[in-house]
């Protein structure tokens, strides 16, 4: 996304993977948009583009027609300028009832379709999970997090710190499940029935190999290789089975919190606001992706509804910040220096990455119990009103 207001028309990443949808809505090209959220692909661009992004409870919206990435986590999601728009779109999507061609689709009696009301958060119990306050969290995001928690408390909500102890394992758990399913779901892209086909006179196997080498990107090929490795008979227990156990633990963390009476969790959506695209050109793409999914993927693993909403904008850099541009220069250095070296993006390397760009959207995430999608939207509406975040107003009807 090119920001004309920035010096030199600087480019910023919109986030992803449903970044196109997010940009279209943010630019006023669409009233709202669909995205697909497997590890945060709706909430992440929503956060970076200043939109409301909802990943519904797993199974709430039908996956028919959605190209499978990770069947156990894929969720169609909604991107909109406000929680009111988002609720309207969700109601439209649910109005068709259950989809008989998706066995995991369960709209049930979950959602009431009525428009959002002016509400209060009086008596609402809001949990703030300690584990989301992690290395790499941008100070401005942290600040926003604090402000919103205070705002809720001021509104009469009971804000308390909670613990989701298995959260740190989410990225690796997600990584195994993701690659395994990608390996499986992408076996169909052989070029026999449809799509690119590279001819080979040598053999059927050769034709498969050439077609897949030409048609699938490096990132996908990497995941397929890893996934198949995890799925080997000798490895399956160690990787896939283990990941499924960890997934269960992560889900149980959430269950315990809900059992304690917490209504909703408040966390960051991303660790940082919109980064420059150079960040994505560094060699170790996957590691960065998982770092981006840190706050969003646990809800996919647990199948819970989660909503990202804009809560403010980044401030101008403070004069006494010593780390001016250190983040980017580090990354570029690593990239230009030696391609063989893995650049380490964990820990403080990213922590240092303050953006120093004024006015970028900052976002937080609300997580609710399974089936409480509407409630999240209701709370988001309260915050929107309380924070009075400026919205894009369309001059003409689309």
């Amino acid at each position: 996304m090119r920001c004309g207001s920035l010096p030199g028309g600087k480019w910023l990443a919109s986030g992803g993977s449903s970044g196109g949808s997010a940009v279209a809505v943010a630019a006023g090209m669409a009233y709202g948009a669909l995205g697909s959220d497997t590890g945060g692909s709706v909430r992440n661009p929503a956060a970076l583009c200043g939109l409301v992004g909802l990943k519904p409870s797993y199974g709430l919206l039908s996956r028919t027609g959605l190209v499978s990435l990770v069947n156990g986590m894929d969720c169609p999601g909604v991107l909109a300028r406000s929680s009111t728009d988002c609720a309207a779109l969700l109601a439209a999507l649910l109005s068709g009832g259950a989809d008989p061609s998706d066995s995991t689709n369960y709209p049930g009696e979950l959602e009431d379709m009525s428009p959002l009301r002016e509400g209060s958060v009086e008596g609402l119990r809001v949990g703030v999970p300690a584990e989301y306050h992690c290395a790499g969290l941008q100070a401005q995001v942290l600040g926003a997090w604090r402000r919103v928690a205070d705002l809720l408390a001021d509104g009469g909500a009971q804000v308390e710190q909670v613990s989701l102890p298995h959260t740190p394992y989410a990225p690796s758990c997600y990584s195994v499940l993701n690659t395994c399913e990608v390996a499986s779901n992408y076996t169909r892209y052989t070029g026999v029935e449809y799509g690119l086909q590279v001819q080979s006179d040598h053999s059927m196997e050769a034709q498969y190999a050439l077609t897949r080498a030409a048609g699938l990107s490096q990132v996908v090929r990497d995941r397929i290789l890893a996934g198949n490795y995890f799925l080997l008979r000798s490895n399956c227990d160690v990787y896939l089975q283990q990941a499924m156990k960890v997934r269960r633990l992560i889900k149980q963390d959430f269950d315990a919190v809900w059992r304690d009476g917490v209504d909703v969790l408040l966390t960051p959506t991303t660790l940082f606001s919109a980064p420059p695209p150079e960040l994505f050109m560094v060699k170790n793409y996957s590691e960065l992706t998982y770092l981006q999914d840190l706050c969003t993927s646990p809800t996919n693993l647990a199948g819970l509804p989660a909503l990202s909403l804009p809560v403010g904008f980044s401030a101008a850099p403070s004069q006494n910040d010593p780390n001016t541009n250190e983040f980017l220069s580090n990354e570029l250095q690593a990239r230009n220096g030696s391609d063989d070296n893995q650049c380490n993006l964990s820990g403080t390397d990213v922590t240092g990455g303050e953006q120093h760009i004024e006015g970028l959207p900052l976002a937080l995430q609300l997580i609710g119990p399974y089936g409480h999608d509407k409630r999240l939207l209701q709370i988001a509406k309260y915050l929107e009103d309380a924070l009075d975040i400026p919205k894009l107003v369309l001059q003409e009807l689309l």
Partner: protein, 707 residues
């Protein structure tokens, strides 16, 4: 939450006890070696649509016409489990006394192949639909030894999807793919390795096929691939651990299954006796050479990379009868399905013994009847009821055999699927037994008996089989004397055929033609006899009446008399009298009781060629002779009979002969069915062709002795 028939468990235990005794060896192996065979059977579920989508399942549809977006693995399509396929699986599992798993799961099995568009097959690897069943069946040893009961444990029954079909074109150097079969529901039944050889394996598959067909869950047509078998085969010596096994894939007939296993057993023994090692591999069977050949290493590189199919929630089967609550509205209820799964009896050695020893059924009939619990029970009750507790006489055993066959026929071919289990209610045992008796006593042809039973079963005909058969004019004349006489007549009238028959002595096959020819002549003769019967009974035949002839005869009481006297030839020839006198074209001249040639339309050529006179007498002539009082005369003094015995005089007559004589000449092979048809056509009712054949043989014998 076990779905198990409470009554069956004790029977199983009983059954297992019985099996502890050693079975006769049926394998080709020498005594030192023991063959171990385990089967995996893939049964296509007989369902109108595929297992995970709504595409039609039509085995014979044109190539690639039964496919949808899911079958071709288009992105964005998801599997939806077909309830009917699950029900078929549960019904089958219940019939095999298997334990239904309350929760089972679907998994993906990965391999690249063009006929598997998604690159994986959805199957049940972690937890199958059902486990731990039992199948007992009758083994018919190939060497004709006594049949015995064997059993195999069903290790698991899992649901999965079929792949498409690949067709290799060497001309195009291409693999052609037909996806019609892709996604069709399969039940994979894995049996414990407890069989000793090909005969037992064949018996298991035959029995299973019948069972599946009967349950209506699978057509079990092996030649269409609806039932496919993989066999795991190994050999070892008594007391030593099991040997390395090989797997023979895709055996698509019972015969190739048996041959492949027998060949593989001997191959493995040969390898081991030469000091070699059996390699764990997949082998294919070549039907032409009767040998197996290595396809690929099994344990080598093939890794199916199983993983859960997250698109399908766990499959839950509950049991409302056991008080389990349904987990959702359209969940599968085992209790409901048990009502649809006809109870399949355990095949016990006792049952087999009762059928083969006491009732003296053939092994084949017994093994078929034993499949149907209720029918088998009521059959045994019927035998007890009509034969008492002691040993069966040969007539009783014969009757029992016919009864068993009629019952099986009725069950398998007469009643529609949904009524098949009601056969014992629909056919009263006394009706069945008396029908079988009619057959046994030669009063009713077997195929007519099938008809009779069909009417009783289908239309609830309350009449007795005798009444039905009489009404249909199916009761066979058992007037042996009449048959003998007709046969004798035929023999004297056809010296050429007789001579041919005698010349071909020792070649039964070649004798058939002259023999059947004679049978036809005999039938002709009987027909005339029959016509007289009919006309007498009905008092009709207007033509004759108009002439006042029949009346005259009747008044004379001659016909009746002659018959009573068994002056058969004469009376029969007299029977021609009754033939409608239509045109009066025929000139008949009898000269001194010798050759009597009747030319009609020049068709008598044939008879003339034979040098014997087969003269068609029609109408006018008979009148003449009767008017002459010849018949009476000849009868009185036995002249006619005498002359006939000399082979000199032959009189043929009736409305049919012209046509049928020409027919004899042309007809090369006369089949049994053809004769049966002809019998009905000529006589208007049934005669036992066998009996006629016997009579002809006897007549030939007599005449040849005389000469």
């Amino acid at each position: 939450m076990l779905l198990r028939l409470p009554s069956a468990t004790s029977t199983i235990r009983q059954c297992i006890k019985n099996f502890s005794v050693a079975h006769p060896k049926t394998s080709v192996l020498s005594d030192a070696w023991i063959g171990v065979v385990g089967l995996e059977v893939h049964a296509q579920i007989n369902c109108s649509t595929k297992i995970f989508c709504r595409s039609p399942n039509q085995p014979n549809a044109p190539v690639n016409t039964c496919i949808g977006v899911f079958d071709t693995a288009h992105p964005g399509t998801l599997p939806v489990l077909n309830k009917a396929c699950v029900e078929a699986g549960v019904i089958t599992a219940l019939a095999l006394n298997a334990r239904i798993n309350p929760v089972s799961y679907f998994d993906r099995k990965h391999y690249f192949y063009p006929d598997l568009p998604a690159g994986y097959q959805i199957t049940q690897q972690r937890v199958a639909l059902a486990e731990n069943g039992l199948l007992s069946f009758v083994v018919l040893p190939p060497d004709g030894a006594a049949p015995y009961v064997q059993q195999a444990q069903l290790l698991k029954l899992q649901l999965e999807e079929d792949s498409g079909k690949s067709i290799y074109s060497s001309k195009l150097n291409k693999v052609l793919v037909d996806l019609n079969r892709a996604g069709v529901g399969l039940m994979e039944l894995v049996f414990s390795p407890c069989l000793s050889g090909g005969a037992e394996a064949a018996a298991l598959v035959r029995h299973l096929g019948q069972l599946l067909r009967r349950l209506g869950v699978c057509t079990a047509n092996m030649n269409e691939g609806a039932l496919r078998v993989d066999a795991n085969v190994s050999v070892h010596k008594a007391g030593s651990p099991l040997g390395t096994r090989t797997e023979i894939k895709n055996l698509n007939s019972i015969r190739s299954l048996r041959e492949a296993i027998e060949h593989e057993l001997s191959r493995q023994v040969a390898v081991l006796e030469d000091g070699g090692v059996v390699v764990n591999e997949t082998r294919s069977f070549d039907q032409d050479s009767g040998t197996t050949a290595s396809m690929r290493d099994k344990e080598g590189l093939q890794d199916y990379r199983f993983m859960p199919e997250f698109n399908l929630p766990p499959l839950r089967v509950y049991d409302s009868g056991a008080g389990d609550p349904p987990s959702s509205s359209d969940c599968i209820d085992g209790t409901e399905l048990r009502k649809r799964s006809s109870s399949v009896p355990l095949v016990t050695p006792e049952l087999l013994e009762a059928l083969t020893q006491r009732c003296q059924l053939t092994a084949l009939d017994a093994s078929a009847l034993i499949m149907y619990g209720e029918m088998c029970r009521s059959f045994l009750c019927m035998v007890d009821q009509f034969c008492g507790p002691g040993d069966l006489s040969s007539a009783q055993a014969n009757t029992a055999e016919y009864a068993a066959r009629l019952l099986l026929h009725c069950h398998q071919h007469v009643l529609p699927q949904h009524l098949q289990d009601t056969v014992t209610e629909r056919v009263d045992s006394s009706q069945l037994w008396s029908c079988a008796q009619l057959v046994q006593r030669n009063h009713l042809r077997y195929d007519r008996a099938k008809e009779v039973i069909a009417r009783i079963a289908l239309h609830s005909d309350a009449r007795s089989p005798q009444q039905i058969a009489e009404a249909e004019n199916w009761i066979q004349s058992i007037d042996d004397a009449a048959i003998d006489a007709a046969a004798t007549e035929a023999v004297y009238a056809n010296p050429v055929l007789v001579e041919k028959f005698l010349r071909r002595e020792g070649n039964l096959k070649k004798q058939q033609r002259p023999l059947k020819g004679l049978v036809r002549y005999t039938l002709e003769a009987l027909r005339r006899d029959n016509d007289s019967d009919v006309s007498k009974r009905d008092g009709e035949v207007e033509a004759s009446k108009r002439d006042g002839e029949v009346e005259a005869l009747k008044r004379d009481g001659e016909v009746a008399a002659s018959k009573r006297d068994c002056e058969v030839e004469a009376s029969k020839r007299d029977g021609e009298v009754k033939a409608p006198k239509r045109d009066g074209e025929v000139e008949a001249s009898k000269r001194d009781g010798e050759i009597e040639a009747l030319k009609r339309n020049g068709e008598v050529k044939a008879s003339k060629r034979d040098g014997e006179v087969a003269a068609s007498k029609r109408d006018g002539e008979v009148e003449a002779s009767k008017r002459d009082g010849e018949v009476a005369a000849s009868k009185r003094d036995g002249e006619v009979a005498a002359s006939k015995r000399d082979g000199e005089v032959e009189v043929q007559g009736g409305k049919g002969p012209v046509k049928s004589i020409a027919f004899y000449e042309k007809d090369d092979v006369l089949t049994r069915q053809g004769l049966n048809r002809l019998t009905v056509q000529l006589l208007g009712k049934d005669k036992d062709v066998n009996a006629i054949e016997d009579a002809v043989r006897k007549a030939i014998h007599r005449s040849s002795q005389k000469n």
